[in-house]
Amino acid sequence: MIKEEALIKVEGLSKKFCRDLKTSLRYGVADVRDELLGRPRKVDLRPKEFWAVRDIDFELRRGECLGLIGHNGAGKTTLLRILNGLIKPDAGRIEIRGQVGALIALGAGFNPILTGRENIYINASVLGLNRKLVDERIDEILDFAGIGEFIDMPVQHYSSGMAVRLGFATAAILIEPDILFLDEVLAVGDIGFTIKCLNRVRELMRTSAVVFVSHSMPLITSFCTRVMVMDHGRTVMDTTEPGVAVNHYYGLVKNKGVVSGSGGAEVMKATLSINGEALEQDDPSIDQGGQVEVTLRIRVSVPGKVRATVFVDDATLSQMLGVPVMDMNGEHIEFGPGEHLVKVPLGALELNAGKYAIMVVIVDTEDGRSICRHQGLLPFRINADRVYWAKFIRSNVSELLPIGNTATGNVESRTT
């Protein structure tokens, strides 16, 4: 079989930006002059410039979906803007075969004074589609957007969610691209609408090559056939295993320990061990479901007694798991003044793939005062092939039962 030709070919793509506005405008004038004189672009950096995108290479075929992940400022959106032809590259080359569609900046071009219906036509025009096509599919758009009688009201009376829904519906229903660019557009509206969007995007993906920018790791692992991790404009990883890329991305997060509380106790040393083996390196990667223990060396310098709890925080610093430091009778272990070494089993960490850290909270048993709250201790990653839409992931084995077994109740449902 002949391999289909790549729809997107990117070679050595680079783009520089300027940090300072005044200087940027001056460079703008110089660039305009060079452009008019047909001079080549300068490939080295001028003062105050930096590479926003640096030496990017990839090829993409129909049916493939490339996910771009990285922190804010890593260059993902800039790369997408160059691919979309909004700005010119400073070095390298892009070759695009076929019709490009973009689900970016939905509703840009909406006029707030005009009604939703009028804006659908305007938006479609901006996307390069004619009136006839909109006339044919207007019912489909209205149905998809699901904003009912609001459609004939000025858009300025819409909630922000409604405006985005209308924008998404217009673009998503009308475009039939060979190449599709997506930038963080799927996280809009309620869950019913989100699911509609995702299904539509999946439909579009079947017939196109997709470049997808998102911070949502579950979306990345469920949509993408290939993921590029970007950092400071460069590709730091390019893999066909989304799980590996996500794990690498989480490895780029640097969390710092934060200690708060009234003082009087401290965590001097902490170590993680998995399945009985101590993990020496920083930011270790732990396979989903691994048995984890944490060993703490704490020093208490207040006169009374204290007790401790170990938490596992996720990347948003919300507590996923709490393990009170207890003895075999289910009572809190009380620590007096001095140093203590204690091993706390956390059990199997059946957490969703992502970035986590340990938090230790030490409170005074007498009055419940927090005397030490040490956050961001021992950052680690949970590694898995897929990121799910859940906090906990348990790989249990399900059993197929013969039909006719009526041990289950009826499920009531309502379609939204």
Binding site: F17, V29, G92
Partner: protein, 281 residues
């Protein structure tokens, strides 16, 4: 045959043939969008306004009243104009306003569409074209309103005004061409946008808008050199049924403006991607 698009750092002026083909292709596909954008802006503007279309007329009317008062009270003495002075000033200021609006349109259009420009890919020509549509709309309103005034002052209205569209077109082209040349720099530096109305104000006093053509001296020279003079004089002459004047200069300016418009278009086209990256997204 699939469409192949190449993006590279190479300046588009290096391949003039390809560039010209793309320019005209984009211009062709701009039509519908430009029309829709113009309708969008016009209907949004008038939905939010009580006096609505009258605003196109209020400014020239106010200027006319001021000048008629200045002339009648003897503060300013205007030489013989050949037609009733109120008609002279009203037609003059309206024609001048058309020019200033055409001059400002390109920069205003791209400034208003900044968000769209930084985020969406659409033919950039549509913004300029939609500015022209809006301009034409305003011109039509002005003409509709001026007709009763002409009739009131005893000027015949009918087929002998057939040359008026030619003058209007010439004004549109001159204004848009200069406006297009200023737009790229104006997008980077807001100073340009501020300077245009001030410069236009000064230019008005060396154009026969409220004053008649001076007889001699330095001012007469300035009036004669001014490329707007033949445009304003002929637009007014054709509107009020007077004889054409400075015809060769009028034709020269019009042809020059067509050329300039094309240069402005090239400039706009080549500089737009460079400018968009300097705007915040």
């Amino acid at each position: 045959m699939t469409k192949v698009t190449i993006y590279s750092p190479e300046s588009s002026v290096r391949r003039p043939g390809l560039m010209l083909r793309e320019m005209f292709a984009d211009l062709k596909s701009s039509g519908e969008l430009a029309w829709r954008l113009a309708r969008r802006d016009i209907s949004a503007l008038y939905r939010q306004s009580f006096l609505g279309y009258l605003w196109a007329f209020i400014m020239p009317l106010a200027t006319t009243m001021a000048w008629v008062f200045l002339n009648a009270s003897g503060i300013v003495r205007v030489a013989e104009t050949g037609i009733p002075y109120p008609v002279y000033v009203l037609t003059g200021t309206m024609i001048w306003q058309m020019f200033v609006e055409a001059l400002q349109a390109p920069l205003q259009q791209v400034t208003m569409a900044k968000t769209m420009l930084t985020k969406l890919k659409f033919p950039r020509e549509s913004l300029i074209l939609s500015g022209m549509f809006k301009w034409l709309f305003n011109v039509v309103i002005k003409l509709i309103i001026i007709v009763p005034v002409l009739v009131y002052f005893g000027i015949e209205v009918g087929s002998h005004q057939f040359l008026v569209p030619v003058a209007i077109l010439a004004i549109l082209i001159v204004g848009t061409a200069i406006g297009l040349l200023l737009a790229p720099l104006g997008l980077l530096y807001t100073d340009i946008g501020r300077a245009i109305p001030i410069a236009a104000q000064f230019a008005m006093y060396i154009t026969p808008v409220v004053f008649a053509m001076p007889e001699g001296g330095l001012t007469a020279k300035l009036f004669h050199l001014n490329f707007m003079t033949p445009l304003v004089l002929n637009a007014r002459a054709w509107l009020t049924g007077m004889e054409s004047v400075m015809v060769p200069y009028f034709i020269g300016v019009s042809l020059g403006a067509v050329l300039l418009l094309f240069v402005g278009w090239l400039l706009y086209r080549v500089t737009m991607p460079v400018l968009i990256e300097r705007m915040s997204s």
